[in-house]
């Protein structure tokens, strides 16, 4: 990187052009350093105060709660007495995210491979642009599209799954209804996190040292063997953290999920049946009907979501940061 250079030191030797003289030079520098450092500190302050304010405002509802916050599935914080818990929210959030990951990770890595090592230059540029555009589509539009377009398209597949694989509890469908389910929400999430996964994997794939690739091809490896033996080992930490960043996005996605799921507060393993809800979707849906304790309870659930995504993102960043020590540069 750059900027180990220091500006001219002794103020007395500074030129007198433009009225910049000793004292002014130092004052200007000090002010500017203060401003820019202040902006950096502000980032830390924002992150800290997100945690602090949410904890503070979550306490009243946690004190009023008569049920176990972690194991209760129902959500009635404004009832007398208040009882609510995050079990159903956590289940729905995890289930949709797992479905999204199962679908999006292989495809995302495939797209990244295609752009980095399979496609010609022009096609790669087009596909890079396409995945970036996919990232730019607002989540509410994905939600509407999922409901209006994808759901009817997926019905056939879900019927097939429950008919022929219904002996697996996951695909069992006793209601014979195939709309607004966790499976559909997970599929839409998969499409939404695809750009995240493919963009970051692509970045590490193109950093694979040319020598490794050429050496393996020269030894007679097929292209797939080259990918498996030269690219994947090099890019593994990057692929892991790309998937984790995608996971972080899937966990916190709100509006698309809120539109698609028909919210219900139970733990239902039949993922093709309507129902289920997530942390984020629950906050958006319950916000405007919540009373004082209701708001506080939603803030408490938001706090849990914040800590989960924080943990996932921090872990992902640590994995990728460790990797940069042996990046393609050296």
């Amino acid at each position: 990187m750059s900027t180990t250079v220091e500006p001219p030191g002794a103020p007395s030797s500074a030129p007198t052009a433009d009225g910049i003289k000793g004292q002014a030079v130092r004052r200007g520098d000090r002010v500017f350093l203060g401003l820019s450092r202040g902006a950096g500190v502000m980032i830390l302050a924002i992150m800290a105060s997100i945690a602090a304010f949410l904890v503070w405002r979550a306490i009243p509802s946690l004190q009023a709660n008569t049920a176990n916050f972690f194991t209760e599935t129902q959500w009635s914080p404004d009832a007398e007495p208040a009882f609510f818990g995050i079990a159903a929210l956590a289940f729905g959030t995890l289930m949709t995210s797992i479905i999204a990951m199962l679908l999006a990770v292989p495809v995302g890595i495939g797209i990244a491979l295609f752009i980095a090592h399979y496609a010609g230059r022009r096609l790669a540029a087009v596909l890079g642009f396409v995945t970036d555009l996919l990232a730019a589509v607002p989540s509410i539009i994905f939600g509407m599209w999922g409901l209006a377009f994808l759901m009817p398209q997926m019905e056939g597949l879900l019927v097939w799954l429950s008919t022929y694989l219904g002996f697996i509890p996951l695909f069992q469908n006793d209601l014979e209804q195939y709309t607004r389910s966790l499976a559909i929400a997970g599929t839409v999430l998969a499409i939404m996190i695809l750009p995240t996964i493919s963009a970051i994997s692509r970045e590490v794939f193109v950093q694979t040292p040319r020598e490794h690739i050429e050496a393996s091809l020269a030894l007679g490896a097929t292209r797939w063997e080259m990918v498996r033996m030269a690219i994947f080992p090099f890019a593994k930490p990057g692929m892991i953290s790309a998937s984790m960043l995608g996971l972080g996005r899937a966990l916190g996605e709100t509006i698309a999920v809120a539109l698609i799921l028909s919210a219900s507060f139970d733990i239902n393993w039949h993922i093709t049946e309507p129902g289920g809800t997530t942390f984020a979707a629950n906050i958006a849906l319950k916000w405007n009907e919540a009373g004082t304790i209701g708001l506080s309870a939603l803030i408490a659930s938001g706090l849990v979501l914040f800590f989960i995504t924080l943990a996932v993102n921090m872990a992902a960043r640590i994995v990728i940061a460790r990797r940069s020590d042996f990046s393609g540069a050296n």
Binding site: S2, L35, M42, I43, V227, W287, L305, N313
Partner: protein, 366 residues
């Protein structure tokens, strides 16, 4: 080893034979060049025949069958002629190419759905009237109030977000490497990354607790723009940082050598050089937050009337307008929601395309 392996002891015929064997051993059996095209054509023909004769029907179903047949034919043929390794390679290549289609399909489907549904409602009236006094069941009305709200909220967020983000990036690139306290810089850099992953709904919760519950502010467009600012910040910091890093060091050195102090060097030399990249990053950040719905629902809610004062009471915005209209569930309101989606997606894509064009034609050359 026997003598026959030594070429000098071979007759001419044997030598030709051994050359052929050697050649085969080096290249192996190979499918002809036209193999992929031929297999694809054969698979398609068989799928169409199956479509006519059996219960396989529909364009999608036929295509799926064709793809499966293609994979099966090609792998089997390649396995027989080229061996296992090449068969696996061909299988992997097909899979990687398939992801290309999988990436393209949802984008095309989303854009087509929005354009087809949205165009039916777009009119001059739709763009210039509000929803005041229009019942969900009635036709008419428009998104003028939401357009104003989105422009103001995103505008204010940009006003806060860009200077803060650029200053942070300047700190990270220009000051941190020579600073005494490296730990602070490292923490800032790390949390900028982590911040990109904070869910937007959590940011909405934070602004609500801090500004509405604690400071007693109203829910307003301004509160929404504060939430959008936080969402923009990490994107702007990262893109600006990248741009500042590729400004050649020689420029800074030249400026220092002329006795220009560091802060003027940054303002007059470094920032102008990186300007187009910074603008690109800002536009991408704006495009990203313009479609955010969840934080707006929490911090400003929505209204059907025009509210040109972001500091006073609920203010509509495009995403919340879409959310409200879509959830009203009547035919006219749903089609208004699609109209809103089309307007939103056009705005986002224009910002996006603009950013890419600026980056392409004016970017800092490495």
């Amino acid at each position: 080893m026997s003598d026959t392996t030594n070429p000098r002891n071979l007759s001419d015929d044997d030598r030709v034979e051994s050359d052929r064997l050697l050649h085969d051993a080096l290249t192996g059996g190979k499918l002809p060049r036209w193999a992929t095209a031929a297999v694809a054509a054969a698979a398609l023909v068989v799928a169409i025949v199956l479509n006519l004769l059996t219960s396989v029907d529909g364009v999608a179903g036929t295509l799926v069958v064709a793809v499966l047949l293609f994979v099966a034919f090609q792998t089997l043929w390649s396995f027989r002629v080229e061996g296992r390794r090449h068969a696996v390679d061909r299988l992997a290549t097909t899979a990687v190419y398939a992801t290309f289609v999988i990436a393209l399909a949802p984008l095309v489907a989303v854009l087509l759905t929005v354009i087809v549904q949205g165009f039916q409602v777009i009119s001059a009236e739709f763009l210039t009237t509000s929803m005041r006094g229009v019942s969900p069941r009635a036709e008419g009305g428009g998104l003028y109030h939401a357009l104003i709200g989105t422009l103001q909220q995103v505008g204010i967020a940009t006003l806060f977000g860009v200077p803060l983000g650029v200053l942070t990036a300047i700190y990270l690139v220009e000051y941190a490497p020579s600073a005494k306290n490296r730990r602070l810089a490292r923490a800032v850099s790390f949390f900028v990354d982590v911040m990109t992953g904070v869910p937007s709904v959590v940011v909405g919760l934070f602004i609500y607790t801090a500004f509405v519950l604690t400071l007693g502010m109203q829910r307003s467009g301004f509160a929404a723009s504060l939430a959008l600012t936080i969402l923009m910040l990490p994107v702007i910091v990262r893109s600006t940082e990248e741009m500042l890093r590729i400004v050649p060091n020689e420029l800074r050195e030249a400026s220092f050598a002329l006795g220009i102090p560091k802060w003027r060097t940054i303002l007059k030399v470094v920032l102008p050089t990186a300007l187009s990249g910074i603008i690109t990053g800002a536009m991408l950040a704006i495009a990203r937050v313009a479609g955010e719905t969840a934080p707006l629902l929490l911090t400003t809610f929505f209204t059907n009337s025009i509210n040109v004062n972001p500091f006073n009471g609920p203010q509509a915005a495009l995403p919340t307008f879409i959310w409200d209209q879509f959830n009203s569930g009547t035919d006219p309101s749903r089609s208004r929601a699609w109209g809103g989606a089309l307007v939103l997606i056009v705005i986002v894509m224009l910002l996006y395309a603009g950013a890419k064009l600026i980056a392409r034609y004016t970017g800092v050359k490495k």
